[in-house]
Structures are given as structure tokens and as C-alpha cells.
Symmetry: C2
Subunit: 389 residues, 2 copies
């Protein structure tokens, strides 16, 4: 059986092997990126769902339009105002999660061999998706303030990329937030080089400390930014609803490309998200999960203070992840096996780097585990690390 | 702005122009392929949805696995038994409608320039999707019994296609059903040439007359068939749920390719479909909509008896469509404008042909319009045609 060349370099098997291990009974997982299972407003959504279907079931159960439901687009427009982004309906398409917005960027913009720049490290799912479109992903160095602008400029010139993929706020996997100054520099540079920016922003509402930093899209007066938002982290990832905001010509291409994927995002998911956002319940809900995640972040960071001093780690102001760097001689891939045997899992950092390497790094998720699991799991992790250091 | 080459040949603008017209007040539409809006079991689904979310909301609202929910896969396996198809869980992936199963076939199997064979005429959505993967779609002649086997054999030899796309039962757009004999010949030929078959079967449960013909997949002892089923026509298209059944190696590739689209089909949609299929309500529901569509088909066919004798048309045993051929000198694209001005719409047949032409043909949908609309719309159509013949 001969498959398409575009899938040759994609297996995802290492990551899937990790996630298969999480199914083991009793395993404490700091590996996923899932919201806390207690965080979902399931009773509210049950009530909303039943009432929507009774009132408007004939339309909800019928085929919908590919761009998405108009009232949800209006809701997204309203939400964007608080992020200093102004958008018109023709600049929006509802997507099946921000994930689809990432895939559609590659599908509509990338020819085989084209370069995409991305933070090094970056989101594994995006890396895999870019590979399925035969993109050549090059990493841009990052520090505590996000992408290093000098390295970005060098690589914009050297590679003439199709776009720059960035998660500027509470980045996956590092938890870092790009500074306001860097955001301005990034827009100016990309505009100057005629290169688009794909800004993936699923975590921005989950802020636990520090001051909000406006999205790159809000600094964009020339429509060089494709902005991806998501309802996965603030309501539910299982409903699969997000949106892309961009130049209408890009949205038009997204529309055509989405027709050959799922035709449209499930109407019931769209209507539930819309009704919930307009119910007055979303804001207190987001405050409540943020408070919970803040405490979990603090609990995990507190345990990390007990780790050997040679280990460095990020202290994120929001999002779901902490990023740790062990001493250079240590290998978080080897260590992973010992940790799993001892009952705790994380994701070795190597998988997040476009060019590999950095075997001494690891990503820790603090949203999914309970406080007890954080306490117990971090103790196990410390024990294994101390034995190997 | 420079887009990917794969989207160069796809605009869909002719079709979208047609569907934009349908929004005009009072327009009678025989153009769509939608289920009747009265056909949806909205109260049952409202009840099921609320109960699922209350009982199992934490899992439903969380991320799911890309292959789909296990219990829904079991339901699909059970449904397939009545179609004489036996499938194992690793041979199934839940898709966001059969549409996604079509797109994933192209994504996982087609390199730019590869040939796909398809019935001439065939489903517009599939044609457009195949173009986005830069496939070269060649039409295979068809008659009342489906694909003409001699032409299929000639083109299998001439083009060495990546796969043959077929809708063997109540085909879109013709309403025709491929005979059992032809199905056997098709499997044998494709097996002999080492060519896969993509069998798209969304309509098979909507049979109004004649005897069921087993799917091509049921005659396949060598896993050459990728079988696509859908819940869109029997429960709801707005939920976006279907499934693909194929060789586990193909399902594995579908799984990887779907990760970069929507990650997984919305859990709530999957759970609703599963619970509804297991509720005991699905069978009487399908019988009830079939009875309704049978009457609508009969109403439309009865009106067509009044048309000039030089017009031929199909008399489908099921599905949603009738296919009409006007005398060769007539042009259904020109006629379309007059019909729309007079308040009735259809889809000109030319759009369904991989190589174009056949401007004298038209597709008529009978499921969406009410009986009154069928009566009135068919009178208008007859008047316009008689003036132009």
C-alpha cells in the first residue's frame, strides 16, 4: 500500500507511546494539556443544550454553513474587543478547535518545502501538522521574553518563510509570555519582510498573575496576523470550537479548505458555546477555573523549590505548563522510563524542538492532576531526579 | 498574498452562487441535498443530550481520542452486520461526516498529479476536495446499472489511479444504484489491478422500493475497499458524525491526518448519535423518514410524467435525487436563470462532471421541499422548459 508523500515524516509514535502509558491504573500524569475534569460546567451545558434543541432543533440538526453560525461570530467579535482586536464578520471563520486553524494555515499557504518559523520549543501538534504538509519547520531561539528578535530577523532573511507560528501568551510548552516590546518588533519585522504571523492564543484568559499583554493581532494594522482563539480551555475541548481571525482573502481560502475537512463545525457545539458565553456564567466560570489553576501552579512551583538548585524552571503567569531544564548531562527521555515505573509521567522536552535535541528538558502540566496527585507525583519526580543527578 | 498551489483550481464559486440564490424569500429549492427540516427527532435528541451531559459530562466535555469513542465504534460494528460487513475496532475511525472520510482518503493517498477515477457525473463536494489535493479526476461512464465496467477496466489500465471513488447506492447526483453483478466485477477488477475503492454510502438506509443490494465492501475479501458511512441522512447532518472502515494501515494514516484537522469529532455529537442508535428509536425513525421521502419522490416523479417526452429522467429506489436529461440542444445552465427568476432552483448537471460538459442535464432534490412546494415548483419548471424546448 502506497501512501501520500505528505505523511511520510509523520508518525507521532513517540508521543502516542507516552499517552498510552497514561492509561495505566494509578499513573499520575503531568504529561497532558487537558483542563481539569472537575472544571467543566456540565449541568449548565446540559440545560443549555436541551433548551437549544427544543427551541431551535430543526436548524441545529440541519447542515450549517462552513464559515460558522452568525451569532457565534458576533460573540467572538465582542470577546475580541476586550483583547483590543477589532474584527468584521468576513474576517472570521469558526473552526473545530484552534487545531483546525493551525492545519488550515498550512493547507492554504504552504507548498512542499516551504519554511515555517516557530518558537524553539513549540507545540508538538503544530509541528506534526506542519510536517503533514511537507513544511520545513525552523526553530527561532527564545528566552524568558519569548522569541529572540535578532534570531527571528536573521531567519526571516535567511529562509523567507511562509509564516511565523507563535504562541505568545503562556506558551506551550514553556509557559512563557512574549513581552509587549517584542510583540511590536515582531509585527514590524514581519510586515517589513511581507511574512504572515500565525498567532495561536488558546490560553490568554487563563492568567493567574501579572498584567495582561495585548495579542500581537491587536498591534497589526496591516492584516499580517492570522489569529487563532479557542473555547477549549475556557469551556470545553470536547466540543471542538475555536475561531480564526484574518484578512478576508485568507478566511475565504480557509472556508474552501474546511469544506473538504468537516464541512462545518458541529452546530450543536457552536450553539452551546455561544449560549454559554452569553449566559453571564462564562466570566465567573473562567475566574473560578483560573483560581483553581493558580493554586495548582503554586502547589507545583512550591514543590519545585525543593529540587536541586542546578535545575531551572519557568514560573508562568498563566496557562497550563511549567518547563524545566535539568543539568546538561541529564537525559529526560531516559529518566522518563524510571518515572513512569515509579508512577508519574511528563513529556520529555526533545519532542517540542523542531530540530530535536535538548534532551535535558521536560514539560510539566499542572491543570489536570489533583492537589494530592501534585504533592505525591512531585515527590516521586524529585526522588528519581536526585538519584540520577 | 501567495496561497498554496493545492487551492489554485478550487473556487466552488458557481455552486456557492447557486446556493446564495436559495436565500431569496419564497424560492422553492430542488437544489440542495438536505434532509427535510421536519425529519429531525429534536425532542428525543434534546432529552438524550441533557441526560448524557448530566451523567457523563466530565468525559464528554474533555478531550477525546482521535479514533473516536469506543462505544460508538461498537454501534457502527453492529450496524455493519445488517450490511453484511464485518469490521474490527482497529478497522474503524469515527469521522466528522463522510465528507471528512473523502478528504482523508485524498490526504493520505494522493500525491499531486495522481489520478482518481469517479463516476461521471459524481458528487461535487468530492470533486472539489480531490482538486484541493491536486488530484487529476477522470470520469468513468455510467448507465442505469452504475459504472460501465468496460470503461472502468480501460481507465484502470490507462491511468493506474490511486483509487476509484464511487457512490454505488442511490448515487449523488443520479439516484442510480450499481447492480450486484457490477459490484462483484468492480471488486475483482480493482483487486486485480491493485487499486483501492473509496465507497461512499451515506444514503443506503433510505430505500423506498426494490431490494437492498449489498455494499461493495461486503464483497471485499482483501481490504481493497475504504467504506464511508454517515449518520447525516438518518439522524442529523448538523452533528457531523460518520465513520470510515478500512484496512488498519489506512485507518492508522487517517488517524494521523485527522489529528491535524479537528483532532477528534465532537464528543457530544458522537455520544448523541450512539445513544440515539441504541435507544430503539432509530429504526422507526428511519422507517418514518423513508416513508415521507418515498411520497415526495413519488410526487415529484408524478409531475415529471407531464413533462415533454423528449426529457428522460431516473426513477431512483431511494436517496434524495432525481437526474433529468433535456434534449441535447437545451442548456440547463441558461434555463437555470429563468427558473430562478420564476422562483424555483435546481443544480445544473454540468458541475457534477469531472470533465465538464453535459449542459443539458439537471439534478433535482425531493427531500427538502414540502409537498406543496413540489407541486408548485414542478409546475413552474415545466412551464419554463416547455417554452424553451
Amino acid at each position: 500500500m502506497e501512501f501520500a508523500k505528505r505523511l511520510d515524516n509523520v508518525s507521532g509514535s513517540a508521543i502516542r507511546a507516552i499517552f498510552a502509558l497514561l492509561a495505566q491504573p494509578g499513573m499520575i500524569s503531568f504529561a497532558g494539556g487537558n483542563p481539569s475534569p472537575e472544571s467543566f460546567p456540565k449541568e449548565d451545558i446540559a440545560e443549555i443544550s436541551a433548551s437549544l434543541l427544543c427551541e431551535n432543533g430543526s436548524a441545529i440538526l440541519q447542515y450549517g454553513g462552513t464559515p460558522g453560525i452568525g451569532s457565534l461570530k458576533s460573540t467572538v467579535i465582542d470577546m475580541m474587543k476586550s483583547r483590543s482586536i477589532s474584527a468584521k464578520p468576513e474576517e472570521i471563520i469558526i473552526t473545530s478547535g484552534a487545531t483546525q486553524g493551525i492545519g488550515l494555515a498550512a493547507k492554504t499557504l504552504v507548498n512542499p518545502g516551504d519554511v515555517i518559523l516557530a518558537e524553539s520549543p513549540t507545540f508538538i501538534g503544530a509541528l506534526q501538522t506542519f510536517l503533514t504538509y511537507e513544511a520545513d519547520v525552523k526553530g527561532v531561539e527564545m528566552d524568558e521574553e519569548g522569541m529572540v528578535i535578532a534570531d527571528l530577523e536573521k531567519k526571516l532573511k535567511a529562509y523567507r518563510p511562509k509564516f511565523v507560528y507563535t504562541i505568545p501568551t503562556f506558551q506551550n510548552p514553556t509557559g512563557r509570555t512574549m513581552s509587549f516590546e517584542r510583540r511590536k518588533q515582531m509585527v514590524a519585522l514581519c510586515k517589513q519582510h511581507g511574512v504572515l504571523i500565525l498567532e495561536d492564543d488558546p490560553y490568554c484568559d487563563l492568567r493567574y498573575s501579572g498584567q495582561p499583554v495585548p495579542p500581537i493581532k491587536s498591534l497589526d494594522d496591516d492584516n499580517v496576523v492570522i489569529y487563532l482563539m479557542s473555547f477549549s480551555k475556557i469551556i470545553s475541548p470536547g466540543l471542538r470550537v475555536g475561531a480564526a481571525i484574518a484578512d478576508p482573502r485568507i478566511i475565504e481560502k480557509y472556508n474552501i479548505a474546511k469544506q473538504g475537512e468537516d464541512l462545518h463545525t458541529a452546530n450543536l457545539s457552536q450553539e452551546i458555546v455561544n449560549a454559554y458565553m452569553r449566559s453571564g456564567k462564562a466570566e465567573p466560570h473562567i475566574e473560578s477555573i483560573s483560581a483553581q489553576y493558580r493554586d495548582k501552579r503554586d502547589a507545583m512551583l512550591k514543590k519545585m523549590e525543593e529540587w536541586p538548585e542546578s535545575i531551572t524552571y519557568t514560573k508562568p503567569d498563566g496557562g497550563l505548563f511549567i518547563w524545566a531544564s535539568l543539568p546538561g548531562h541529564m537525559n529526560a527521555v531516559d529518566l522518563f522510563k524510571q518515572c513512569v515505573d515509579a508512577g508519574v509521567a511528563y513529556v520529555p522536552g526533545v519532542h517540542f524542538f523542531p530540530e530535536g535535541g535538548h534532551e535535558n528538558t521536560m514539560r510539566l502540566n499542572f491543570s489536570m492532576a489533583s492537589f494530592d496527585q501534585i504533592e505525591k507525583g512531585m515527590n516521586i519526580l524529585k526522588g528519581v531526579i536526585e538519584k540520577s543527578i
